[in-house]
Symmetry: C5
Subunit: 325 residues, 5 copies
């Protein structure tokens, strides 16, 4: 795949030209234009070309190259550097695939750098280009459009985990406790923690975009970031909600393990009693006393057999009634 | 049901006329009037008409259409957009039905949009109209009246959950531990979390209405929002209280499961001992030694029988006294 | 009991006259006087008379009538409205009886309204009247005096709960685990939560009285509210301390239930072994083989009996030494 | 012991004279001097004399008399009132003895009042007098010196508790679970909570001494209070660390109780199997069937005995291998 | 090893000379130069020489001598004193070795003091000297270089602990529960707490370096400290993540202990039933009744044997199917 996916300049919300790296300096002279660059896992060389063209800071370029950053927003002079994590449910391996997208935002440019698993932003770009009255708001709106598509991808991920939680609930309350339930709870907890780590810095990032860094984000674009902020809050809340329920499920699971252990003990005790009684009776009539009148009775044996069967039945019903069997 | 439930203009706290959408623009010219619109699950078209008439922001209209927002307050220019969640106890299915109500508040209008399960606000409107000396305070008071009726509906919901908690307490402390108790605890926890999610943003919303957005809410209406704030705090506290008690109940339930398991073990041990002794005695007199003087005693058998019954009784009383039976 | 317990005017810290409701307006004209009214569960009518006389806000009067408010402080114009909860240990039913006291504080009046279980403030009033050099500081000091007496009543309540905690500790560590211990822990937890709910808003209330609402509370009276603040902090701390210990006690209780269950198992195993051995031996000599030389030995029977008693004794001592019996 | 342990005036860091209570007023006239008073559990009378001499506030004197305050710092006019708790390990009774020290700090005086268990501050005073170049910084440095010695005494206390925690760790992981382990964990938790209660307000107190109350504490003395602040932070951290480890130890202990209970069950099951097999075999050959050829074999008996011993051995080795015995 | 590892002066990012202690005063006169001193566990004498040369504060020197400080940043006049903890995985003893490094930063000097286990900073110095265009930024950059190398050493430590956590996960979910698992969880928890204690103050330290103490750290060096800040945040997050997972692992471990105990009970119950049935049957045919027709049947014995084997097999399969065996 090409490292430079797209590099175009926009005037008044309409794409005017594809720009070569060598021409960028010239284009940036025109304040009424803005340049929107899309990179995908760029090599060191490509990054250095863009660093020179846009005057980006060493430390930010280093971060953009290495990836595996935590989501953050940093200002270097009048350039913003933003790191976001992207998430996708991997249905095959039943896990979340995380990626990273980095943004450089200047007064008239936006660079997006995709790392790892994530969908292409070509769709977002073409959707923006189809609404020039919005894209006219400048590179801030383009930034919003990409960020919004990233945050929206979290919803199916969280909903996937919520479904998994529902599955666990059913395992806990409907079936016998197994090792798998406990392991599933643990794995879901881990995924929720990973997701939380990706999402929670988003709130702070949006907050700062809405308030402080006013020069790069025009006043009329700010409500859009409040929209993302709101989505980030909701995802966060859903994750916390799932986590708290999961903790309770873990404890409930534990209670039910104990109850089911208790039921095993009761069942065992019940059957032990039913078997112990005939054994005891048989032992008695196995004694070798010379004078045991019952032994010589003609109906002795059947009477004893019937008696023991009868008392076993009584014990069985008593235990049944008190719920031990 | 009609999408536009009600649309009237008020002067000095008294309803002067029902307003058609087409006339709204004209009415809004008169600063001494205010318009109060009540919508119920409006379609996209209706919303767009009102958006045009009241100059509402795209993003807010989008939220108002989609519903399933978290409770929030947002300012778009000089219009306030408020989202609240409504709650009702569903006695039949034994769960909480949540709905949503959205508000647009401008300098001389109030729009309420009901989604999902919630009672109609016609009652609130007529109660307001019956106290023109209060409604004269303007659209801020109308906003208060609707919000107050929403918050007041939380009280029976919380009280319903508190009753359920009491039921659980009785199940935990009065009866034998069952799977149902644990599942009920889990379900109540889930309901409390849902409720908390609906109520806790209320505090922040009221706080902002009381303090910052002063232009739309007149100074003399502010104490009314403090009243709602106070109710929101109380509901929040009741929910937290119930949650903390529920956690303790879960742990207490767990302790009692263990104690009851312990009691099963003790009972089992006790009866095992009572049966094991005669079995052992009988075994002894079942031995085939040639020279066992007791075997030939005439009273051997009855003596042994009486002896074993007697020792069983002693064991029984010993266990009874030490609480194992 | 009379609704209006007391209604007197004070000049320079000395009571000058009992005031009738009808005269209050006149008395309030004199800024050097202040009026101190004590009400007890007043009816709607009485409240309305006072509302008119002192120009109190509708919402505050409504709260004062309904009671069951959470502790709070609110300003309505230049009147303060304060709600406190009172607490008393009910020795008979072994629970805490909560009441409520409401205060209206104006530039030269103080109204106290008692609801539910609480001691009369007549004592506080007469103690104040006996120190006119302090009461001269004005209605702020009278407010302090009543609040102080309310807060001081919390100490015996907390100490009562601390004693109960000590009782629970003894039950947990000294005696066998019982259902009662767990239930007592739960009930104490509930009482601590109730108390916390009553006390914790106090800190915020005192804080505001110490700092912000300077006009009503003279500078020289402020240190007195700091004193109450300090007491509220201490009670809060005692409650938190007790709660954290109680949580640990619950977990310790749980560990000890498990240990005691373990001990039951061990004891059962020990005795089972002691009984199983003679049963096995007896079984062996109950076999019907033609050629079992021991059976025809003259001393066979006594030897076997002595041997089994001996081996039982050995097993007993082995288990005793390893702590299983 | 004398109530007034020491009362001296200092000029330029050197002690110039012992001062009588009656002369204090005169001495305080000289701004270049400062008076350092040391009291030990003073009676009401003594306190009143000092109150008059130094113009101290009623409420502070009341606190200083009653003791049992929580650590705090309060300003009364231009006098500071500080309450600290002192702690000492009581090796004999294996507990922490808490005491209290109160400070009054004015522009040229320092009063220390010791209550309950604590070492004398005579040593601190003589160490200060031996470094006049430091004591010259004024009563602020004297305050630092005493506070520092109080905070330094916390270190051996915390270290003592850390040793106890180590002892508990060894009990938990090296030995069989006992009731004592659980009770020790509980007692240590209680001591840590008590210590926390004494230490945590220190941080706030030092913070305020470092920043706000600048007039009484000269700029060059402030770094010294930062030093105490740092120590207070460290002690706090040590306590929190110990508490968190202790919580984990409690849970680990609980896991190990369960494991050891599981081991009991396995051992019991193992031995039960070993005894049950010969019992069953013996039972079989105790049957009275007429035609059981084995019974009349000459080697029947020894073969059966050897066979059962052999199968018991096999069972024993099987259980041994799978870790049940 | 030498106490003074290195002591050199730099102009414009290039080393110009090694400096003797006696000459330092002279060198510090030149504001265009800065001196970078590296000490390793210096004695009291050496420290006093440097204290005199650089005019350092008594309290800071005392801290630098004693070591065992918590990480902190303090300003003494226009000198910064910073304490950091260093960490290295000790592969041999399977633990974390902590050390300490102290920094004195002045307007044109940097002193680093190493205590305990840590790598030498000679490498950092030579790397700095190889990039004079960066070192030219002054002593602030040298400080950054050393701090960065310290923080970077935390990553392998945290990753080592994460691997250990993975090992524990496998022990918990793949193998039978053992005492070792629980002890390992406890030890890892302790190491995570130790690490947390070392890392978490870093965030505050970097925060202050990035913002407040602007004079010593030039504006263009500040982004570098933001870089360290970011790493510190990441390490912190990794530690918290591991701690939360570990807590869940502890609870999961506990659930699995219970499940495995439950399995023991079931297995025991299953085998007990299989053995109890033939014992009971044999007991019956061991009765001595005169008239038991089966006893005299020729095929009685083999029929009974086959019947009991058959019923044991049925019981075995029943238990097998229901998962008890």
């Amino acid at each position: 795949m090409n490292e430079v996916v797209n590099c175009a300049s926009y005037i008044n919300g309409r794409r005017v030209a594809n720009v070569e790296i060598s021409n960028i300096g010239e284009v940036l002279q025109h304040p009424e234009q803005f340049v929107w660059v899309g990179l995908h896992e760029p090599g060191e060389e490509t990054l250095q070309q863009f660093q020179k063209a846009f005057c980006l800071h060493d430390l930010a370029i280093e971060d953009a190259h290495r990836a595996h950053q935590r989501p953050k927003i940093e200002t270097f002079g009048d350039t913003l550097f933003i790191v976001l994590r992207t998430a996708q449910l991997n249905e095959v391996y039943h896990r979340i695939d995380f990626g990273e997208t980095h943004f450089f935002v200047g007064s008239n440019f936006l660079i997006t750098i995709r790392h790892g698993s994530s969908i292409s932003y070509a769709d977002v770009r073409s959707r923006c280009e189809s609404t020039p009255h919005l894209l006219r708001k400048g590179q801030g709106f383009a930034l919003y459009a990409v960020m919004d598509s990233i945050v929206d991808q979290y919803f199916p991920v969280v909903e996937g985990l919520e479904e998994e939680l529902q599955g666990i609930e059913e395992m806990v309350f409907k079936e016998k406790p197994t090792r798998e339930t406990t392991e599933n709870i643990y794995q879901l907890k881990r995924q929720l923690l990973d997701l939380k780590r990706a999402v929670s810095p988003l709130i702070d990032i949006c907050n700062r975009l809405m308030r402080f860094d006013v020069k790069l984000i025009s006043v009329e674009t700010q409500p859009y970031f409040r929209d993302i902020y709101d989505h980030a809050l909701r995802i966060n809340e859903m994750v916390d909600h799932a986590r708290e329920l999961l903790n309770t499920a873990l404890e409930a699971n534990f209670s039910l393990i104990s109850i089911s252990q208790s039921e095993v003990s009761k069942k065992f005790a019940g059957w032990a009693a039913i078997i112990a009684v005939p054994t005891m009776v048989a032992g008695f009539y196995g004694m070798n006393f010379k004078f045991m009148p019952e032994l010589s009775w003609h109906w002795g044996y059947p009477v004893v057999v019937i008696f023991t069967i009868f008392s076993c039945a009584i014990i069985y019903f008593l235990f049944k009634r008190s719920g031990w069997l």
